[in-house]
């Protein structure tokens, strides 16, 4: 078996639902979505207009699911979608869309364009039009368990390393605890400090938790490339591990799409509800903060801003929590213009960073973030997604901006009140 055009078109047909039909029916081609998309604003090329990225799928909808389209089709007046067109659209759907969903917030008729791009990728992947980089990541995710090929021994080495530094052990495969922490490969490879930071915070707050050796990977290449079966398979691994360890909660780490995958798409991918709840690490931290279990001392005096990872805030709903946490540890927390659910994407989400072909454009469109930063001149940027962080660093380097990028969780860990002190305070 292999990908084929027919399978792709069939996938488009499978993906149509009432929202898609309502969205396509409503578009008046006002072009406002272009102004909401950094790939248009920073290139000025109208082909990057979000709604245009859906054109082949729109035509399939019209020809297959609207009486007028069927009628004109029967009269031979409509042009069927061709494989060549899908090839042409490949870069629009994968390289120049991060699924950030900013267009979906701006469309005056209310079209959720990101919702449709996600669906369109199902057809693109099935027709063999997924980018090489994402195919590789997806294959590694399924065969190795991590899109970056991170195997258990690597995690174990990082854990050992962390344990040595921390002076206490990090729970792995402990049954019956409350929380099971997931990690992204990016954190294991590029930001292993994250593991120590979480361990310190949880020890401080008295959270009972564990990491599963069988399902520690949070990311899900399946939802990025647009293959629901693969995405479901990856979710099933986490669900199985959570069941095995009998945890009440699964923690999604500092990664955007992982949260989308496990929190919002997961149950729908596997077709059943979870027996556990999914929380984002920031949700949990804010909850601990609010309940007084997480106590910090001192505040960063630097001018800090918070970059919302799209899938966590705009698409995920974790908007206020990071702000509460920022205010907890930053004396000079300043928001970028257009922030929260209206924040601009860094330019590398939605699988764009896995796709080498998109390197040039993702750095080019970072200019949008630069413009935002130029307004507030922060001393450092705090975020909650490893992919955002790496790309922010990349982009800042490209634009010769000297601003460090920090993890919110790690920064909080830096401000924990000493355990002894905290215990001393308790009556």
């Amino acid at each position: 078996m292999s990908a084929s055009f027919e399978r792709g078109i069939n996938a488009f047909k499978e993906q149509m639902d009432a929202p898609v039909a309502a969205f396509f029916s409503s578009c008046v081609r006002c072009g406002l979505c272009a102004e909401a998309c950094l790939f248009y604003t920073e290139t000025g090329d109208p082909k990057f207009t979000p709604i245009n990225k859906l054109e082949p799928m729109r035509r399939v909808w019209k020809q297959e699911y609207s009486f007028w389209g069927k009628l004109t089709g029967a009269l031979g007046l409509s042009k069927p979608v061709t494989d060549a067109e899908l090839t042409e659209w490949e870069t629009l759907v994968y390289d120049s869309c991060t699924l950030c969903g900013r267009c979906s917030m701006v469309c005056p008729v209310g079209n959720d364009i990101a919702y449709m791009i996600r669906k369109m990728r199902e057809g693109m992947a099935a027709s063999g039009h997924a980018p090489e980089g994402l195919i590789g990541a997806t294959q590694r995710a399924v065969t190795i368990g991590s899109p970056m090929g991170v195997k258990l021994p690597a995690l174990q080495a990082q854990i050992r390393h962390a344990e040595k530094d921390l002076g206490f052990s990090i729970p792995v495969d402990v049954e019956g605890v409350d929380y099971m922490l997931l990690l992204s490969s990016m954190e294991i490879m590029n930001f292993p400090e994250f593991i120590s930071a979480v361990a310190r915070i949880f020890r401080h707050a008295g959270v009972s938790w564990t990491i599963s050796s069988e399902a520690f990977e949070a990311t899900n290449s399946g939802i990025q490339i647009g293959v629901s079966e693969i995405a479901a398979e990856l979710v099933e691994r986490i669900v199985a591990a959570a069941a095995k360890l009998k945890v009440k909660y699964v923690i999604s780490p500092e990664c955007g799409h992982a949260y989308m995958a496990i929190r919002w798409e997961g149950p729908n991918l596997i077709g059943r509800r979870y027996d556990f709840k999914v929380v984002h690490i920031l949700e949990l931290l804010d909850e601990l903060r609010a309940s007084g279990r997480l106590q910090t001392s001192g505040k960063e005096t630097q001018r800090l801003t918070y970059h919302d990872p799209c899938q966590i805030s705009r698409r995920g709903g974790v908007v206020q929590q990071p702000r509460n946490l920022m205010n907890q540890i930053a004396a000079d927390f300043v928001e970028m213009p257009e922030t929260g659910t209206m924040n601009w994407c860094c330019g590398a989400g939605g699988g764009v960073s896995s796709n080498e072909r998109a390197d040039e454009i993702r750095l080019k469109v970072f200019n949008r973030k630069k413009k935002q930063l130029d307004v507030i001149h922060p001393d450092a940027i705090v975020s909650a997604c490893s992919n955002c962080r790496i790309h922010l660093e990349d982009g800042l380097e490209e634009y010769e901006m000297d601003i460090p990028v920090l993890s919110l969780t790690e920064t909080i860990a830096e401000h924990l009140v000493d355990r002894e002190q905290k215990e001393g305070q308790q009556p």
């Binding site: 899109p147 970056m148 021994p153 390393h161 530094d165 290449s221 896995s354 080498e356 460090p404 830096e414």
Partner: protein, 150 residues
């Protein structure tokens, strides 16, 4: 005779140092893992970092080079990771920390250099499979103690 036996002491002691001292120590941390980095640029910038007389301009230039190196060797999200390359990345990151002006690196420059150097060692151990956890930190304790006692 000062002794450093754990990270808390390390952290506190490092942050008690001045800018030049921190930089020189950080350079020492990087040096001990420099063999893990194949990019020659890091060796060059390390010379600057280890030079107590280095001018601000030279340091800034070296920082720029070190930073560029980190971007050339970090692993992108979703691409296949190579832990040996990753070790090189952490060495570069340690060099960046060493060259960063005091106060601009949360946690402290020498501290961050130490952490990154350890990660470089861990990355290597993931490939080689040898259990080297803790070796690098012991090494760092010794380096600091030696420095403080000299």
């Amino acid at each position: 005779m000062t002794e450093i036996t754990n990270d808390r002491e390390l952290h506190a002691a490092l942050n008690g140092l001045g800018a030049v001292q921190q930089r020189l120590l950080a350079a020492g941390f990087v040096k001990s893992v420099l063999h893990l980095c194949t990019d020659e640029r890091i060796a060059r910038v390390l010379e600057t970092a280890a030079d107590p007389e280095a001018s601000d301009a030279a340091l800034a230039e070296a920082l720029k080079t070190a930073r560029a190196t980190t971007f050339d060797c970090h692993t992108r999200c979703g691409s296949e990771g190579d832990w040996l390359e990753q070790a090189g990345y952490f060495v570069a990151r340690a060099a960046v920390a060493a060259l960063t002006p005091l106060g601009q690196m949360p946690g402290g420059i020498a501290w961050q250099a130490a952490m990154s150097a350890r990660m470089a060692q861990t990355s290597k151990s993931i490939v080689t499979g040898d259990n080297t956890a803790g070796l690098e930190s012991e090494n760092q304790y010794r380096l600091l103690a030696g420095f403080l006692n000299s």
